[in-house]
Symmetry: C2
Subunit: 337 residues, 2 copies
């Protein structure tokens, strides 16, 4: 596991340099501190590592994939800046969020600028036409995922559209649609674009997509578990963020609800629907969820997806790279932060 | 003048169809009403008309330019959706703004979706590589223009970044930098991209850029005059919007301030800096500005720019199209709404 952290660290620092380079294009000096803030807050850089490792798995090198990898990580950070506005989130990675630090207006302007830095990266890839098409499709999927995530929130809204389309119940199928768009689509794109950077075959593209999709779903399942049960200090944000944000779109919650007594279920839903859940409420909800088998079930499901993802790697020639991809997907599933 | 309205109407309806087609890609049924709202509110469609007419001026036809023209108009509407969030604007064209109608979250998601519809249009043009480069550069310029526009606002802010970088004084040079980015850059791009759609020469591209830049500055000068002195019913928004929004970045204001008595100048600045200017305050400010020669001066300047712009049209072969471009730029300058 320390190997993969080393690989992530090394690739991540190259990706960070490239992201800053792309963000600098067309940004006046006074604006740079605004646009740098989000990426300088750090991150595991898992998505660009996938892009680079898939490029290597086909036979390409890091340099071939670096602009694309940076573009992919910028897509992720673009979505985070705006998610933080939408979720009214103040803190990420123990730092103020971009809109909180610089105000809503500059948060929005930073996000628009990110999208053009993504385009800048895409233009510099070996296959701009194919890659810009995938990026456009993927960002639209992120929007649809975020739209559903918002509509899965349980706090009654005084906005007509939200209230009209809000989900009173969320099925596991609804949930999978949402996380497919919101999380797995970008991880799938990260993998596929890596193959394209090395001019890999259509079959390899397909295998990379399959790997990315399954690893992406597993990643989100693990994330949902961590949101409720991680060690708060390592998480870098409040435990139970989904509950504070009234989100029914957490798989552990959805799995646990039918397993609770009627009284406990009503209590959990009441907390989700209350305007400002107290820390005590959230702790009690987490304790109730912990008593069920939901978390075990979700972790087993994630484990299965991870194993399925790995078997999509057979056709790639560079076994050193596929070995790292296997370790990376294990890391995603086992991580504790 | 009725000719050009007919041309705008005909081209506009083709552009509208194409915009809706591009916006539909990847938008779930429930989301379509959100993303359609902004373009269905209407607009003069001047920018896409410029794209199509420049394509024709080189010798191309409408179809060659239609996707690019729709992409250009979507850039404009993308910026309007987000400007309305940034300016906290409730009404545009006598309709609620997107964020006001659907809530902030869906306003932001609609805007992200617009950017991908722009990409979709760009991908469908005859020269995606060149056009996506110009669009990316232009959107970054719009961001910088909007950033300056926000920093030219005179209401003291409790946000650290805004207060640190806020302009206490705005020179005419600062103003021109701002409107160059915020308005002229996109009009320049509209013209240049039209030439590219018809594979025009580098010289024609340059001439189109010059036309667009000068027409764009003239357009903004005319807009600033209209914001203060138009007939309110025709304008579709409140007269003196810039004053309500504390904006010193209006050329009539900047020209008039040195011409006012110290007492009147202090009064105007006090209104601009007050939290909520009353309708009476705004009317009094407009009356003071009307007494100066500022508006005449600005209109003369716009007229000069329009004439200079026209002389950039000499090298284009299709004189029917250049004639329409001349009429269009006159229309921009003379319009009363």
């Amino acid at each position: 596991m320390s190997d993969i952290l080393q690989v992530l660290g090394k690739l991540g620092s190259q990706v960070d340099d490239k992201m800053l380079e792309l963000l600098t294009v067309g940004a006046s000096k006074d604006f740079q501190e605004v646009v740098f803030h989000q990426v300088q807050a750090g991150g595991k850089r898992v998505r660009p590592a996938l892009t680079i490792l898939f490029c290597q798995a086909v036979g390409g090198n890091t340099e071939d994939a670096l602009s694309a990898a940076a573009a992919i990580e910028l897509v992720h950070n673009y979505s985070l800046i705006l998610d933080d506005v939408i979720d009214d989130a103040d803190v990420r990675r123990n730092l103020p969020t971009t809109w909180k630090k610089f105000g809503l207006n500059f948060g929005i302007l930073a996000a628009i600028h990110y999208r053009e830095a993504i385009e800048e990266g895409s233009i510099r890839t070996p296959n701009h036409a194919a890659i810009s098409r995938i990026i456009a499709d993927t960002i639209r999927e992120l929007v649809e995922g975020e739209r559903l995530d918002v509509l899965f929130e349980q706090l009654p809204s005084n906005e007509e559209y939200t209230e009209k389309h809000r989900y009173r119940d969320v099925s596991l199928e609804d949930y999978e649609t949402m996380i497919g768009y919101k999380t797995a689509a970008l991880i799938r794109a990260s993998c596929e674009i890596g193959v394209i950077c090395a001019a890999g075959s259509k079959e390899m593209q397909k295998a990379a997509r399959e790997f990315g999709w399954k690893a992406g779903i597993a990643f989100q399942l693990a994330d949902d578990v961590l949101d409720l049960f991680a060690e708060e200090a390592k998480l870098g944000k409040k435990l139970g963020k989904d509950i504070y944000e009234h989100k029914l779109g957490n798989v552990v919650l959805l799995q646990a609800l039918p397993l609770l007594s009627q009284a406990d279920r009503d209590y959990v839903l009441q907390v989700l629907r209350s305007d400002k859940p107290t820390e005590n409420d959230v702790k009690k909800v987490i304790a109730l969820l912990k008593q069920t088998t939901a978390s075990d079930f979700v972790q087993k499901k994630a484990k299965q997806l991870v194993n399925d993802a790995k078997s999509a790697l057979d056709s790639f020639p560079n076994k050193e790279a596929t070995q790292l991809l296997e370790t990376l997907v294990d890391f995603i599933y086992q991580r504790s932060f």
